[in-house]
Subunit: 338 residues, 2 copies
């Protein structure tokens, strides 16, 4: 399925859930970019879970999203409990408008929900010439270092740097060593996991995938990843006026309740720093130095962050998107109101 | 030695190296805060290495530091190869002035040198009410994931969040699993190291500390830490107009050459987001939730990032700073021009 078709299908499904047409299109754009990057778990298949929460009253399909300009370069966005990618797109648009005028901007969004993959926001900012740092808080799955209870979300953070003469650099990551899905896969296969992935419910490192699923994800780098996850929550949750830490409701356990998630968007207009030629030359020189690193495995060249995802984006824009046909079929049924 | 005495001693030593009095005082402030936080490796003892580089012509003792305002909220600072903490302080001051007026600001500094510990910049910003993200690039010690050559510095990054009703949260970290100093200690003791700390020169994980010192530091979280170190270099080095990646000269191997390091300072004025009472209440609630986490070890309560350093700061401000008397003696001799 090609990009425009998937976008139309996703927008139609979101419209059928009650979103206004323009809102449905904007939210669909983020999710389809997720699929284009190959992050299918955060692509259009998420629409089904959004639909479930809308039906339960946990998400508002027609939010009145309000941006309050509290300084020349700061806006606080109240997402009015809308679907996350819609709140995210409105916040990103507000940030780009302010940064275009003043050079930098910060938008802090509250009263939001799961806002999809992060890379699309960094990508959309980068193709407009903005360097960006974007983050969100999330339902708690990580224990603080030395603690035996989940208090932090596996908060995602993304960075984007534009390249007027080539590809942007995009880094989109969560702060756990691995995602819970990887532990579930090990459990299915009956395999032990490395003791660096998770702890049991008492906070002790474990190789037993079931004990790990009953316990807590370990952050990268021990207290460093714990600190990063905490800082993301401070920016995305605390400063925005959203929920933070254990105040965040779980979308899976309490789907009928607003989550009050928060996001942040920091933008810098790189056009103020020099010409496009200047920036493009430096970005390409930077990429060339990284690519010229002697590889450990002669058959596997060193890559920049986001390079695999941008390869997929370009290939799938040419050849069509590898999205699960069963997901498309279900979205088509949703769009027909079935 | 008390804070004011150490500040006077450090400023006198820097003045004797040729810095102007006000410049010497401002640079000393960052280094003394490093000692107050207990980060002595990045405290006043650094002045000796700065002196060596000044004598070799590698650092300019009387730089003409110039801030070019390229947008309402962006300044590019040319450090004119001055000592790093001085360039850093000028950049931070420029960022605070812009953020106070417009809400946010970014300052990108080039033509700088090792700018000391990061936590002091975040701390100084936080006590003025600014949330901050500060970073610097550094001499290459980390290989990209899948690569067998050092292309990235162990770039430090720091975050600060103010708390009008209590303590700020400060996270100051480098992106390697451990510092090279820890590997040197293992070598001295004749001990093996975990294979997660470093690789040998072919990029293969090693438990041999000598092979590790001949090889490359491993970043936290594998490709995630590699990506973070790379992004810090893009913001601090590439966007600022400084050197980046292998263009950065090593201060230890080529002390007579300008390093052309770069730094970035992102600031948000939290006074625009709500009252001090609002922010203080949320920060204290946040801290209380983290502190209430059941500890893995009943005798070791869970801590916030920066808490250990802020404990030391408060204690050393009351009781005096535990700085090596031999370092103080050498600084006193420098200050007397011996």
């Amino acid at each position: 399925m090609y990009e425009q078709e998937l976008l139309a299908l996703a927008a139609a499904a979101l419209s059928a859930l009650g979103l206004r047409p323009r809102d449905a299109h904007d939210a669909a754009r983020i999710l389809v970019l997720g699929d284009l990057f190959g992050i299918h778990t955060h692509g259009v298949e998420r629409i089904e879970s959004y639909g479930e929460r809308i039906r339960l009253g946990g998400i508002n399909p027609q939010p009145d999203i309000h941006a309050e300009r509290v300084a020349a370069t700061i806006a606080r966005v109240d997402g009015d409990n809308g679907v996350g990618p819609l709140v995210g797109m409105r916040a990103l648009d507000a940030a780009m408008a302010m940064a275009r005028e003043f050079g930098t901007a910060v938008v802090l969004a509250r009263a939001s929900n799961h806002f999809g993959p992060i890379a699309p926001y960094n990508y959309l900012a980068a193709i407009e010439g903005f360097a960006s740092i974007v983050g969100s808080n999330a339902t708690t799955t990580i224990a603080p270092t030395g603690g035996a209870d989940a208090r932090l979300g596996n908060s995602p953070i993304g960075f984007g740097l534009p390249n007027p003469n080539g590809r942007p650099v995009i880094l989109d990551m969560a702060l756990s060593v691995v995602a819970r899905a990887k532990i579930r896969e090990a459990l299915k296969r009956g395999e032990a996991i490395p003791d660096t992935w998770a702890t049991d419910r008492d906070g002790r490192p474990t190789t037993d995938p079931q004990a790990a699923l009953d316990g807590f994800l370990l952050p990268i780098g021990g207290y460093k990843g714990y600190g990063l996850a905490l800082v993301v929550d401070l920016f995305a949750g605390l400063l925005s006026g959203a929920a933070y830490l254990t105040h965040v409701h779980s979308w899976s356990e309490e789907p009928e309740k607003p989550q009050n998630l928060g996001h942040f968007f920091f933008l810098v207009d790189t056009a103020r720093l020099g010409t496009g030629a200047w920036l493009g030359e430096r970005m390409n020189d930077f990429a060339a130095i990284v690519h010229a690193t002697p590889p450990v495995d002669p058959d596997r060249a060193v890559k920049l962050p986001g390079e695999i995802e941008l390869d997929r984006l370009e290939r799938q824009r040419r050849e069509g998107i590898d999205v699960d046909p069963a997901v498309c079929e279900r979205l088509a049924r949703m769009a027909r109101g079935e």
